[in-house]
């Protein structure tokens, strides 16, 4: 969604080469958050041609390799539910959401919840009904948490990448044992791409900040992505790239079949891999390059690739003119 803050920032950056946000906001402080220290992250790419395939079986085989500590735990799946989506082009597909839920239950999780806070649509039930989530995942009562309207708690932001010092965040997100970011593979007209890190905007409650959560745009999208992810730290990421979106995403782009699921234990590494699959250089995506120092790995050498190779599934996504500088392979 667009606010005058977005437009002004983008155009000033484009025309003057200067970034208003950079000039007025503090640099992120690595002193407040320890740098990411894991030696190597793991990312798997699996081919899935359509939403009618047995996605749960593919996921079960893949997730077993990661040996995730979810037995007896409460897991929250955070899909990307942008708005009303009867044809399944903008939201994480319900077949994927249901398959991931089934897989975590099969892996021994005690409870697997689904939760999101759509950015512009207040009527979350209308969003869920438009995409048919009930038909795929069963009754919504007790299963789905509307993160826009959940109870909240104050969270001090450790990174201070943006001007935000605190956010009120959903207690459900803060209270679960294992958080999974479950986005759709899309381009984004302000951030370049929206994947597992950008997907975390959805945990910021509309009930506190409105629809859209415009405070994040004014704080600087790239920097706010860092702050939110440092605050909630998703444990795992699974990206629905079976049919993605290119061009004027995240809402008005063009469906782009890519035929993959990309999953891993480091959201930065997963997003970097997705960017490479999309034909984009992750180092040129602002928030990803910043996240690389704090939240995860971006370098190929620090990502152990499982399943398909990037080259074998690469599908170039069209981007808006303002983001053509992202095109490239690294």
């Amino acid at each position: 969604m667009v606010s005058s803050g977005n437009v002004l920032h983008t155009k000033l950056a484009k025309y003057s080469g200067a970034c208003l946000e950079c000039a007025t906001m503090p640099r992120e402080s690595t002193k407040l958050l320890a740098p990411f220290s894991r030696p190597v992250s793991r990312v798997a790419i699996r081919r899935v041609g359509t939403y009618k395939e047995d996605i749960a079986s593919v996921l079960y085989e893949s997730l077993r390799e990661f040996d995730l500590p979810v037995r007896g735990k409460t897991v929250l799946l955070k899909p990307n539910l942008v708005g009303i989506d009867p044809v399944g082009t903008t939201n994480t597909h319900p077949a994927v959401i249901a398959a991931v839920r089934e897989t975590f239950l099969r892996l021994g999780a005690a409870v697997v919840l689904i939760g999101d806070g759509p950015a512009t649509e207040r009527d979350t039930q209308a969003v869920l009904e438009s995409m048919g989530l009930r038909e795929f995942a069963g009754p919504l009562t007790g299963l789905f948490v509307d993160l826009n309207l959940d109870d909240v708690e104050r969270v001090l932001l450790k990174t201070r990448a943006s001007r935000l010092k605190e956010l009120y965040l959903p207690k459900t997100v803060r209270g679960v044992d294992f958080l999974v970011s479950l986005p759709k593979m899309k381009t984004h007209h302000w951030a370049g791409v929206t994947l597992s890190l950008k997907n975390m905007f959805g945990v910021v409650p509309g009930g506190c900040y409105g629809w859209p959560k415009n405070i994040l745009h004014w704080a600087g999208i790239d920097r706010a992505i860092l702050d939110i992810n440092a605050a909630v730290r998703p444990d795992f990421a699974i990206v629905d790239g079976i049919i993605g979106m290119e061009g004027n995403g995240p809402l008005q782009g063009t469906p782009k079949p890519c035929g993959v699921l990309v999953l891993g234990d480091d959201p930065v590494a997963v997003d970097s891999t997705c960017a490479r699959v999309m034909g984009l250089a992750p180092e040129r995506i602002k928030y990803l390059s910043r996240a690389a120092t704090l939240l995860g790995h971006i370098e190929v050498g620090k990502i152990r690739q499982l399943g398909e190779s990037i080259e074998s599934v690469r599908t170039r996504f069209a981007v808006l003119e303002d983001f053509e500088h992202l095109i490239g392979t690294t």
Binding site: G5, V7, L8, G83, I84, D123, G210, W218, L320
Partner: protein
């Protein structure tokens, strides 16, 4: 049993009295407020809608209303605004809603008194005045002169098609104008402006109305406030469309209103959730459009065991069905 008011069927009355009101009474918290759902923490927005709904119910003199108003007064910040969640130290769009609930209560208290016994109308009116003053003085970041100058400097209609001369109200301070908070502010200030310095608000209201008209989607209706992005027309949504249409009710002859009502009359038929259906019913009814079909759909929506029952959603259902519609009665523009 109470007699059924004109234009309210037996079924509608039963729906309000047997489904909606009991839910609202049952979900009130000990602190007097309501959360968005049963057993959730009290919030100003949910409390405001619940209060407006209970005021519209046939038995309006309830102890629950007094406790709810107490909650609102106790959560008001020193600057007159209300925060969207307890603990926050900054006001937000919910200030308009709290003013609406307080204003409706105090207006009623001056006419009939059953509710007012323990309520100090003076205290509520003071709270309301402070809230309205904050709302009237609150300026979104996109209204600031230097911001507008910079935007003109780099204006690019390829990205968004909107007139930056107009502004309204934001969700939270220091952010941009959006359709829904602007609509709430217009509805509340127009209704209660006569009680405070209404002259101060007059120009502001006109600019905000122009902003709403400017932000209408090309096909009619409104979304959050992006009618066109990178050349692609924005898709309207029921919620923002309803609030914008209600805020612009004094100009029913305008083409924008006609097209948006048309959009809404078609748009509600593709949804089955109670929240959207209740809002559609509120708006179509206020414009005198046929509503029996949407009303039936709303009652049916709650018959599902899996219907998500939120406090605002149920409150909007009461407001959609109420016979009096006092909550929407608007004083003439000052």
């Amino acid at each position: 049993m109470q007699s059924v008011p004109e234009n309210l069927t037996e079924g509608d009355s039963a729906f309000i009295e047997q489904t909606c009101i009991p839910f609202l009474l049952k979900t009130q918290n000990k602190d007097g407020g309501w959360g968005f759902f049963a057993n959730s923490d009290s919030r100003v927005e949910a409390t405001s809608w619940a209060l407006l709904a209970l005021r519209e119910s046939p038995s309006e003199d309830r102890e629950e209303i007094r406790r709810g108003l107490d909650f609102l007064r106790s959560t008001q910040l020193a600057d007159g605004s209300w925060p969207s969640a307890q603990g926050q130290q900054e006001g937000s769009w919910v200030t308009a809603l709290a003013c609406w609930a307080l204003g409706s209560a105090t207006a009623s208290a001056t006419i009939s008194t059953p509710i007012s016994a323990p309520i100090s109308a003076t205290e509520s009116q003071r709270s309301l005045s402070q809230g309205l003053a904050w709302l009237g003085n609150e300026r979104p970041a996109d209204s600031r002169a230097w911001r507008r100058f910079l935007r003109r400097l780099v204006a690019d209609k390829d990205i968004v098609a909107q007139d930056d001369a107009y502004y309204g109200w934001s969700w939270t301070p220091d952010t941009a104008s959006w359709v829904e908070p602007t609509s709430y502010a217009l509805l509340v200030l127009r209704r209660f402006a006569a009680r405070v310095a209404s002259n101060v608000f007059r120009d502001r209201l006109r600019v905000a109305e122009s902003m709403l008209l400017d932000r209408m989607c090309p096909g009619g209706g409104w979304n959050c406030g992006n009618p066109m992005v990178y050349g692609a027309p924005g898709e309207a949504q029921i919620g923002p469309t309803v609030w914008a249409l209600l805020a612009l009710r004094q100009m029913p002859e305008r083409e924008e209103i006609r097209r948006s009502l048309e959009w809404l009359e078609n748009g509600w038929q593709s949804v089955s959730s109670p929240v959207s259906l209740a809002l559609a019913q509120i708006c179509l009814r206020s414009y005198g459009r046929p509503t029996s079909a949407v009303r039936d759909a709303l009652c049916n929506a709650y018959s599902s065991e899996d219907a998500i029952r939120s406090v605002p959603g149920v409150a909007w259902s009461v407001l959609a069905m109420s016979s009096t519609q006092n909550w929407l009665n608007t004083a003439a523009p000052a």
